[in-house]
Amino acid sequence: MEHNNSLKILVAEDEYLILMGLTSSLKRLGYQIVAEATDGQQAIELSLEKKPDIIIIDINMPLIDGLEAVKRINEKTFIPSIIVTGYNNKALIQKAADLGVFGYLIKPVDEKDLKPAIEIAMAKFKEFQRLQQELKKTAESLETRKYVERAKGILMDQLNLKEGEAMKLLQQKSRDSNKKIAVIAQEIIKASEILSIKAKK
């Protein structure tokens, strides 16, 4: 079965025979293998270069181990990853969880294990991205609110206005100059700073 927008996968495993097996299984599931890595260093480089949709990686690899590689990749761009390893070890599983890994499979694995793991991982990742977006928006509006409050304070103080009136003034200015209210607020704050007028808290 060939999917059209098939997922791009990077597989990292130091034992080549196992890598070949994984690749074969993944291809049969309809995924695209964009890169193969046999050590942690290569995994990092190829991930950042080829930008796969998901990374399937072993822990036990030369140069840089799998968990460290995932950490470093995620520092630059967040790519969802699934660990496939022989180590069934609480500490490692916890470490992987802390790093934001989306799945942890114990060898031996075949298609029947990989398929659900990948699907769940991708679903989780989508949710993750959505939450990130929301977070970003929330943070932005919080920033705006802060500026607006400060600007209001300055106007109330300077022009002897009530709160509602100050707000209306801001909104009007925003409309008139076609700038965002946050921008106007920042300009007012800056102006007052230049003129060294203290705003009432």
Partner: protein, 618 residues
Amino acid sequence: MTNCLFKCENLSAYNFDGYILKNINFMLMPGEVHALVGERGVGKKTFVDVIAGFVKNIQGDIYYKGQNITSQLCSKGIEEIKVLLQKSCLIDNLSIAENLFLKNYPKKTIGMPLIDWQQIYLTTSHLLKELKIELDYRKKISELTNEEKKIVEIIKIYLQDPDIIVLHEPTENLGVKSIEKLYKIIEILRNKGRGIIYVTNQWEEALKISDRISILYKGQLVGTLSTTEAKKNPSKLLHKIYGWTNFRENNKNIGDEDAEVFEAVFKAAEFLSSDYELKDVLSMLARYATKVMNADGCMIDLIDEGTWSVIDTVTFKTKEDLEALLKKESIMLIVREGELFYATENDKNFISLFERQKGVKTIICSPILIRTQITGFIQVFYQDLYAYSDKEAAYLLTLAKQVGIAIEDTRLLGRSTLLQESHHRIKNNLQSIISLISLQKDFIQKDPNKSIDVVMNEIISYIKSIAAVHDLLSKDKLGRSIINVKEIISSIKDLYAINRNITINLEIDDIFISYNKATVVALIANELLNNCIKHAFKQCEDGIVNITCKKQPKHILLIVEDNGQGFPENFDLENLRTLGLSIVYATVINEFKGQIKIERTRGTRFVILLPEENLLLS
């Protein structure tokens, strides 16, 4: 200059052979013991003979208290300068007392000048008592031992109270107590403001008694050191004595050296109890060893007791292009000797010790033992000639023991984690089998005519190879997880033991590799051997298969050849139709980053080149 008691200016002495002494500039101050040291044959005796006035052919000037006495030395002799020669100048038939006063008999005049024997005996016995020397002054010289004779000579000179005394090998023939007495006499003289020239080849003596040391080398004065300076850095002194150039001016005092050694030993203990990997610990120890031993590099080898081959090496070098790889036989020899091994370029067999050598002139080695078993080998090397100090020797031996502990520690740890590793290993092996089956599915799709039987048998064959490796691991008495390639290939060969008229010849070096690489090597060997047997000898002929695996400087070379029918003309390695060969190709290229080619000789020949860094212990 004005205070100078004795001075030689550009003194040279020659005979028909040539110059024995060349341009000697030597000074002696009052109240000073100035030693002159050097090896045998450098001209010390000649120097003494010159001062004693025995040498006529001299050039240059000699001054006593500012006065030029050069010509006077040979003709009249100088009263104020007395020389203790190596040879005895006593008269055997006379008594001690008579010998002591040979030239200065105290006289009394009773009518005719007579010798005042009473005076002589009195003075002598006083002297002997003062110096606590128990000798009967009436004894004849011929009755004395060599030691006693020497003492008499010394007393004789002392009695004459010269301004300058030259001693040539004064401790020869003397026992410990006598040497003490000699040094006491020298002290007395020094305190009186006399000057002493102490000529010897025993530099250790010079360090004990002198204020300054001058070094004679090949007839020339090559340096003068204060004794304090020489004591702190004896190798500097030795360098001048033996004429070694390129001396490294280490500005270290002995005090500093001690501190350094202690620090290195403490650090090593720290590493040993840390969580660091063995290889990292060894790296750090190698680095410390290089520093403390003032070396240019250090190598620590791990050795397999059974085969005496080097399993692994950790090297630290201060310069990239230095090399000092010892031959296996040399290592065995050194280990048998048991202790510290020291060799320099000056040794005749130096070059023959090495497999590969570049730029190294001194090596110091020690075996690393765990109980009585050889487990490793540590070697420090230098690009110059180097003499180590006692402390350095002790340090290296201690370090060897510490490395032994580190290795044993790792093994013990290894045995306990081996079980955990085994689980991991088994899971990886099972995954490999799934891979093989999964890949086999792909191949069947491409070639549906292949019979199920054949396919299943192939899989069984792979599983057997993996099992063979596992079996070797379980048999390792020391609980290590490293495997000898020789044994892997041997086990694979046994899988095909009952095969018709096919002879399999093995020529394999002892090469140690880690477990996960071992599995792949087993698979490769199995596949190639299988290939030969299946395809090359289809026609039931008598077949020969030769498998060679040799360790080369940076590679491992594996050759599998048969004398059967070769591959067809249009055989293409990259688009292989059998799973096995495609796995061989893929792993050689991708896992080992090596090369593989097929040659058509009398039959077929697979040549595989694997870079050693990807195969040996990681």
